[in-house]
Symmetry: C2
Amino acid sequence: MGTEPGSRNSSPFRLGVLISGSGTNLGSIIDKLHRGPQGIEVAVVISDRPQAYGLKRARKAGIPAVVISPQDFAGRGEHDLAIAAELERRGVELVVLAGYMRVVTPALLERFPKRVINLHPALLPAFPGGSGIEDSLAYGVRITGVTVHFVDEGTDTGPIILQEAVDIAYNDTVESLAARIHEVEHRLLPQAIELITAGRVSFDKDNPRRVLVE
Amino acid sequence: MGTEPGSRNSSPFRLGVLISGSGTNLGSIIDKLHRGPQGIEVAVVISDRPQAYGLKRARKAGIPAVVISPQDFAGRGEHDLAIAAELERRGVELVVLAGYMRVVTPALLERFPKRVINLHPALLPAFPGGSGIEDSLAYGVRITGVTVHFVDEGTDTGPIILQEAVDIAYNDTVESLAARIHEVEHRLLPQAIELITAGRVSFDKDNPRRVLVE
C-alpha cells in the first residue's frame, strides 16, 4: 500500500473517520484499534451533521471531532475539498467511511487514492445503495452479509477487501437482520483497517479489482 | 405446493430434468433421489443437444431420455411447447433445469406455473447469466455460492429456494472455484427437490418473492 505499517516504535498510523449518525462502527474502531497495540490512532472524526452522536463518542475518547456541513459549501465537490483539507491537516493516511451517508466525489478520492474504504451491509455487488438490508429481505435472498471495500467513483462498486456471509432466517425482520449484520460490521471493519495498516493488503497485478490479503 | 408429497405407499413424485451437457447435476439427482426412499422418480430427461452425455446417464439408470432439438422448430416458443408436451405426457410434476443452457419461455412456464426450478453458480442476484463463476472471480468478490430458485420470465430472477455460500480463495482459478461450486450444487439441488416434493416449500403471502421452507 506504499505506507509502512505503524508500530509502537514508530509514529502511529493515522485514520480519519467520516460519520453521519450514531457512530457505532466508529465505536468499534475506537474500542479495538485506537491507541492499541496495533499502532493505530484515530486522528480525526468528521461528520456532515452537527447532531451526529458519533461526535460525542470521539470527544469522549479524546479524538478531535469536526463538523463540516454541506450547506456551508456551493456544491459536493467544494464540500469534499474542505473535508480533504481537514484530513490532510491531521496527517490522515487512511479514510474510513463508517455510516457516512453521502456519496464521496473525486475531489476527495483524488487526494486519497486507494485510501478511502467503506462498509456496506450486503454482499456487494448485490444490493448496493442506501437500503441494503431492506432490499435483501424484500428480494428474498437466503444469504446476505457485510462488505468492506475501497471506494471508487461508483456507488458501492469499488474493489472488495473483506466479505462475511450472514444467513437470513425465515422470520427475520429488518431489525433482527440489522442486528446480526451490525455485529459482523463491528468485527469486519476494524479487521480490514488492521490489515491495511499492517501493509497486508495489495492489488492483483493482472486484475486491480481483485484485492489480495496476505 | 398443491401436490401431495410422494411416498413408497403412493405413486412416486415425477420429475422432468432438462439438460444440455454432461449432466453431473442430473447424476446427483439420480444417485440421491431416483427411486429412493423419498418416493421420487425421474420420469424423463430431455436434452436440447443430441450429444449431451447426460442422455447416457439417464438411459443407464433406466430413465427415458429424449432429444428435442431447437432447430426442428420455428422458434423458441414452439420448441418450449414441444418440451412441455413431452413433460405432460410423462406426468411430470416438477421441472428441473440442471445445466440446461437455454432461456425458458412463457410457453413452458405457463404450463408448469411455479413448477420449474433452476440451479445457478453464484449468490443471486449477484452474477446472473451464463458465466457466474467467471464473473464472480473477475469482480473480485470474497464470497460467492450456489442458488436454487424458481424460474420466472427473467434471467435468473425468480424466487430463491436455497442458497449456500462458498468462500473464494486468493489463488482460486475458474477451475478450482468451479470444482467447489459444483460440489455444493450436487448437494443443494437434490435437497431443494426433496423439500418441494415433501410439500415443505411455500410462498410468503405478503411477499411472493420470499420462499418459505418448513
